[in-house]
């Protein structure tokens, strides 16, 4: 094989058949120092290795496409990416491609396309170009587009390496967790605003034409509430002194409200008012219907226990 087919391996000889991916990507501090001045390598200590044909396929797999391979060729010779000796690189690139084809390796179309691109650049480089004043503009360099693509690709190749080095979960760190043995079910009740409820009420009123009833309109809500309060104050089967239902500290208005509430409850048959004899104190108890129901409920409870 020709020297061009040597590939500079940082690894030892027995690693030659191992995926050469290690060569482009894994930096090794031990192999570190060699620098380049004017394209001339100063210190060069790497072991050159021939690629055994069976390893070539692995070699090819180590590249992420023609840009990656081209970058590798440039980097391994420490060439300035901004000043690629296009003829040399093209020659080397073509040798690899030819060899791969001889070995009948399946070659992605992108590799052949790159070969054509390189050949085209090479031929354009041969053409005379008009002298411009001083520096030559980027546009007139046939390599410009290729260089731009190589640089762009290299940026993301390096970014990928940087991402791979970033500490990540399940490799460099793990989320700390502790067992919650018994999870309590927490249900959050919906929130309601008064306004929401009033809007709902307004709508139901509109639908039911309750507005039409005068008595409803005039009815004080305090009476309604007091009706509820009086009912709940009465225990089943128990008489309660009528006067005890009133709270004088509420004043005249409160007493009136309670009185109206009691009358309304009486009218609806929800309470009974009894008097043992004339002028005896009045007593209030739950109306027969309410009383029976409550007693039944109480009995059920007892039976249930």
């Amino acid at each position: 094989m020709k020297p061009d087919l040597k590939i500079v391996e940082a690894a030892s000889a027995q690693d030659a058949v191992a995926p050469p991916a290690a060569a482009p990507s894994a930096p090794s501090q031990a192999e570190m120092p060699f620098a380049v001045v004017e394209g001339q390598p100063i210190t060069q200590m790497p072991r050159d290795l021939y690629i055994p044909p069976q390893a070539l396929e692995v070699f090819l797999e180590a590249f992420e496409g023609p840009l990656d391979m081209l970058l590798y060729l440039i980097r391994r010779q420490n060439l300035d990416i901004l000043d690629i000796p296009i003829a040399d690189i093209t020659k080397q690139y073509m040798r690899y491609i030819e060899l791969m084809q001889v070995l009948q390796l399946e070659l992605a179309g992108e590799y052949l396309l790159m070969a054509a691109t390189l050949a085209e650049i090479k031929s354009r480089m041969l053409l005379p170009r008009p002298e411009t004043t001083g520096a030559v503009g980027e546009e007139s360099d046939p390599r410009a587009e290729l260089v731009r693509r190589l640089q762009e690709y290299e940026r993301f190749k390096r970014a990928a390496e940087a991402i791979d080095r970033m500490p990540r979960l399940d490799r460099d760190t793990w989320a700390a967790s502790a067992e919650l043995v018994e999870r309590k079910i927490v249900r959050v009740p919906p929130q309601v605003t008064l306004q929401e409820m009033l809007i709902a009420f307004q709508e139901v009123l509109t639908r039911s034409d309750m507005f039409a009833h005068h008595h409803v309109q005039r009815e004080a809500l305090s009476v309604r509430q007091r009706m509820t309060d009086v009912l709940s104050a009465l225990a089943p089967g128990e008489f309660r002194e009528f006067v005890r239902l009133f709270r004088p500290e509420e004043g005249r208005r409160g007493v009136t409200v309670t009185f109206v509430a009691i009358l309304e409850l009486l009218r609806e048959g929800l309470i009974d008012i009894v008097q043992a004899e004339p002028y005896a104190p009045l007593h209030v108890r739950l109306g027969s219907a309410a009383r029976d129901a409550r007693l039944a409920a109480a009995n059920e409870e007892i039976a249930g226990n």
């Binding site: 793990w174 989320a175 700390a176 967790s177 502790a178 067992e179 919650l180 043995v181 018994e182 999870r183 309590k184 079910i185 927490v186 249900r187 959050v188 009740p189 919906p190 929130q191 309601v192 605003t193 008064l194 306004q195 929401e196 409820m197 009033l198 809007i199 709902a200 009420f201 307004q202 709508e203 139901v204 009123l205 639908r207 039911s208 309750m210 507005f211 409803v216 309109q217 009815e219 004080a220 809500l221 305090s222 309604r224 509430q225 009706m227 509820t228 009912l231 709940s232 609806e268 048959g269 929800l270 739950l286 109306g287 027969s288 219907a289 309410a290 029976d292 129901a293 409550r294």
Partner: protein, 226 residues
Amino acid sequence: MNEHYVRNVVEAALLAAGRPLNVDELIALFDERDAASAEEVRAAVTALASDYETRGIELKEVAGGFRIQIRESFAPPVSRLWQERPAKYSRALLETLALVAYRQPITRGEIEQIRGVSVNPNIIKTLQERNWVRVVGHRDVPGRPELLGTTRDFLDYFGLKRLDDLPTLAQLKELDDLRVQLSLPGAEPVAPPAAPPEAADEGSPADTAAPEAQELVERDASDVAG
């Protein structure tokens, strides 16, 4: 072995493992150079356990070994992580609640009569569970239906001192649009303490749906933007 190092490794491993670890597994964390004995590992476990005594976590020995777990008394707040998103009450529920408030004591049948549709028993149940509505008696008619009234909790939740603070029907009638007219006499339509901010726009379905959609949008954006 450094006692603190052993303890730190044991703690980190127990928190990373996601399963209980026994003494052998804990010993195996240390390589030959930094070998830790069973005694050292046990001492580390004991030290951690006492370290956690004042905390929301505890170190427990279970069948598979040692495990760091959430202390049972901390289960209620921690469980809130998985709490269901509060749903919204249906219009039917709100109407029922309003009718109980304004027309109490009232039976389910009477509510149905006014609303013109049957009342789902779950609505009454929900209102009772919330402790806003309770049975205050029974009406003296066949079937002795339950009479429903509102509770003290109901008044407290809506920031009312008494039922009278609710606007009268006449006032309600005058308020053509409650959505616009916000201040009601006596009853300030103030959102309860924990009410979500969107409550001010209540009543317009498009508005009520918006916050969730908004949040979704925001999440999407943050996903992209990082």
